[in-house]
Amino acid sequence: NAGVTQTPKFRILKIGQSMTLQCTQDMNHNYMYWYRQDPGMGLKLIYYSVGAGITDKGEVPNGYNVSRSTTEDFPLRLELAAPSQTSVYFCASSYKGASGYTFGSGTRLTVV
């Protein structure tokens, strides 16, 4: 039981490049979330999903896209990376909505 697994752990992107942050969970959780954490700040919700095939925007969705084709996987896509997207990205999952989150270890992304 690995919990929530995020890859990669670190990445440097050039302005305008694209990439996909991977997130997978093996707990059969129906809810999954993507957050970003800027230095010294709390977490901001980017996108979330309540089940396969269902996604919705959070507080800061601009510049990102998601998909949820399976219960296990919830990838986050960055198109045309910008310096403002330099942050640490966390994926989380839960079984009964927000009743108990499990977080991945994070992806530290730098856009230069």
Binding site: Y31, Y33, Y35, M41, G42, L43, K44, L45, Y48, V50, D56, G58, E59, V88, F90, A92, S94, K96, G97, A98, S99, G100, Y101, T102, F103, S105, G106
Partner: protein, 111 residues
């Protein structure tokens, strides 16, 4: 949307001291959670506590939903308690189970 305020923003204590962290929220909530982010960035769920009191070892938490606040108590602090403590809430009026985070309390425990 719902606002979450945590205080104090920073707290420096000697090992063995006790501390109280506060979380105020601006609207009714379905649930509230406390998280610890250790110095390596890992987020650990401490308590799921929409109301009432819970205890886990040296940590305990109390949420008074009617007065819109929650408290996290840490007794006999250890250096491993250092890190940032986040309060996160789900608004009762949220269209889905989204939790909103406060800005955190940074706790530093000196040996």
């Amino acid at each position: 949307g719902i606002q979450v305020e945590q205080s104090p923003p920073d707290l420096i204590l000697q090992e063995g001291a006790n501390s109280t962290l506060r979380c105020n929220f601006s609207d009714s909530v379905n649930n509230l959670q406390w998280f610890h982010q250790n110095p390596w960035g890992q987020l650990i769920n401490l308590f799921y506590i929409p109301s009432g009191t819970k205890q886990n070892g040296r940590l305990s938490a109390t949420t008074v939903a009617t007065e819109r606040y929650s408290l996290l108590y840490i007794s006999s602090s250890q250096t491993t308690d250092s890190g940032v403590y986040f309060c996160a809430v789900e608004s009762r009026y949220s269209s889905a189970s989204k939790i909103i985070f406060g800005s955190g309390t940074r706790l530093s425990i000196r040996p």
